[in-house]
């Protein structure tokens, strides 16, 4: 395992987009995490109030809320990491270094394994960053009485790790399948941000409000929960309505996590299957 990680590190160390996209991810997550505090202060200075409540007393950074709030902010930022994964994988195909790696003595399992370890390392780095950001902002701006539940709901960090690992594995599979970085990057971005959210919203809302839904409406309405992006992004539910005193799901559901694990295995197995089936 150390050897596989070392191989990936040697390849990435000198790859400028790795530092650019990785840096962008770190900076944007940090700015967004810290920025909410200043955004709420700005709202206050503009005289905004939430039904008579001062925006700065919104307990955004209180433990354990912060463990759900920060990973949720980071939901779409994982696209930066996905771009990096797509670019490196497509490079391996176009430079034919994938083939040369196999010729030089990696097995195909080794190769997928090394890429998976890379994705895991990226996701882990993001998770650790969020842990420190949560700890730092929670202690700095959270209400002191919340310190007693400091590591309560820390499961959201594990959910984030699973979320990013699965999304990046999905990107790995698409990159190996399509092999053109531009197509995959634009396609995945459109699908993640526009296509699937709209489609699943239509299907799910249609089922919710239909008085007598047909068997197909029911089927697709339920199926929408299994769509990859819906499943991955829904692992951590939107937390912000709670500050408008609405009820939210403030835990990680095992059922939803299992769907994501399913996508993780499907993506990895699919990638391996492509590699085994194709002439390189």
């Amino acid at each position: 395992m150390k050897r596989l990680l070392q191989i990936e590190w040697l390849k990435l160390r000198h790859y400028r987009p790795f530092w650019v996209l990785g840096g962008l991810y770190v900076v944007v997550i940090t700015v967004a995490s810290l920025g909410t505090h200043f955004f709420l202060q700005y709202l206050k200075s503009q005289g905004a109030d939430f039904r008579g409540i001062d925006p700065t007393i919104v307990p955004f950074y209180d433990f354990p809320d912060v463990w759900q709030n920060l990973p949720y902010i980071a939901t779409y930022l994982k696209l930066f990491l996905a771009f990096l994964v797509i670019m490196t994988i497509c490079n391996e195909v176009t430079y034919r270094t994938l083939r040369q790696n196999i010729i030089d003595g990696m097995s195909k399992q080794d190769w997928i394994g090394s890429k998976f370890l890379l994705l895991l390392a990226l996701a882990l780095a993001g998770t650790i960053l969020l842990f420190f950001l949560g700890l730092f902002t929670g202690l700095l701006w959270g209400h002191p009485e919340s310190y007693s539940s400091i590591f309560h709901s820390i499961e959201f960090l594990f959910a984030y790790l699973l979320e990013v690992t699965t999304f990046l594995s999905f990107a790995l599979f698409l990159a190996l399948l399509i092999r053109r970085p531009g197509v995959v990057i634009i396609g995945l971005t459109m699908y993640t941000l526009v296509l699937e959210p709209i489609l699943s919203l239509i299907l799910i809302e249609n089922l919710r409000y239909a008085t007598d839904s047909s068997i197909w409406e029911t089927f697709f309405g339920k199926l929408a929960h299994f769509f990859p992006i819906r499943a991955i992004n829904n692992l951590i539910h939107v937390p912000y309505q709670r500050y408008a005193l609405m009820e939210i799901q403030d835990y990680v559901s095992l059922r939803e996590a299992l769907i994501v694990v399913g996508w993780l295995f499907l993506s990895l197995y699919g990638s391996f299957w492509l590699l085994r089936k194709r002439d390189l």
Binding site: L10, H14, Q100, I102, I103, G105, M106, D279
Partner: protein, 281 residues
């Protein structure tokens, strides 16, 4: 489409084995299968008398077609990746860079290299783990005459060190100059396999001329060691048994009181042999 059909061969340790054939005859496909990057529809093979594995590939240095490296990385950085894959010593990097004459340019990005340098780096990479077997697919493709000569000298030096080399090429004189054994492929089928020296001695001829060609030809036809005697451009071209040397011909004619004005031995070329093989099948 069938790229290869019931191909069967064995390569002994220490051979410099030439894989000959026109473009599209299945040379790269054959090597790709042996290196697990092309999946055969059926058939098996072994390396080192064992079923193939990633470990056996670590014991093989191979380039298939074009040199494949990370363009944004330097020679040293690229070789570091291969060292990690092959589990060999980092110190080997400096050594192979000297061997292939790239030490001075070791810290320049691969993308700045000329084709010849890329090809040499690929051979260097293949040599990294000091493997007992080297596979070189068209190693002189696209090089200028000087580059070709350099690579050939490199291959001959490596061959002298006792390594087994498999060299695929469509260049006949390349195989003739470098290889001990060869196999001819056409449309995925084996046409011929044999020893280069034997094939060349089959093609050996002796040329003779004298003032009276008719008499000469009649006399030579009586010699038991001469299998064929043809008149070509004012010379008698003799196909002879392997035991017959030019001095034997000279002695024989001297005894018959014929004065020779020209006597030369022509070694055969693989090209002639190759054309003969293609014509026969």
């Amino acid at each position: 489409m069938t790229a290869l059909n019931r191909l069967n061969f064995e390569i002994q340790q220490g051979m410099v084995f030439g894989l000959l054939g026109p473009n599209g005859s299945g040379k790269t496909t054959t090597l790709g299968m042996l290196l697990n990057v092309i999946a055969p529809t059926s058939g098996t093979f072994q390396w080192f008398e064992k079923p193939p594995s990633a470990e056996s590939r670590q014991q093989i240095g191979a380039i298939l077609e074009t040199p494949c490296f990370y363009p944004y990385m330097t020679a040293v950085q690229n070789l570091e990746v291969i060292v990690a894959i092959k589990n060999c010593a980092l110190t080997a990097i400096e050594e192979v860079l000297h061997t292939v004459g790239l030490f001075e340019r070791r810290n320049d990005p691969f993308k700045t290299y000329s084709l010849g340098m890329k090809q040499r780096l690929a051979i260097g990479a293949a040599l990294l783990a000091n493997p007992p077997v080297l596979i070189l697919d068209e190693p002189t493709n696209g090089l200028d005459p000087q580059g070709i000569a350099e690579i050939r000298r490199l291959i001959q030096d490596i061959a002298k060190s006792g390594k087994t080399i498999i060299l695929a090429s469509h260049l006949l004189d390349e195989v003739q100059k470098v290889c001990t054994d060869f196999m001819v492929l056409r449309k995925g089928e084996k046409l011929f396999q044999g020893n280069v020296k034997t094939a060349l001695s089959d093609q050996r001829t002796i040329e003779v001329s004298s003032e009276n060609m008719e008499q000469l030809q009649r006399t030579l036809a009586d010699h038991s060691g001469i299998t064929q005697c043809q008149l070509e451009a004012g010379k008698c071209v003799l196909n002879v048994l392997p035991s017959v040397r030019p001095i034997d011909v000279s002695r024989y004619l001297f005894d018959k009181k014929i004065v020779v004005t020209h006597l030369a031995e022509q070694s055969g070329s693989l090209e002639k042999q190759f054309l003969k093989i293609l014509a026969e099948t």
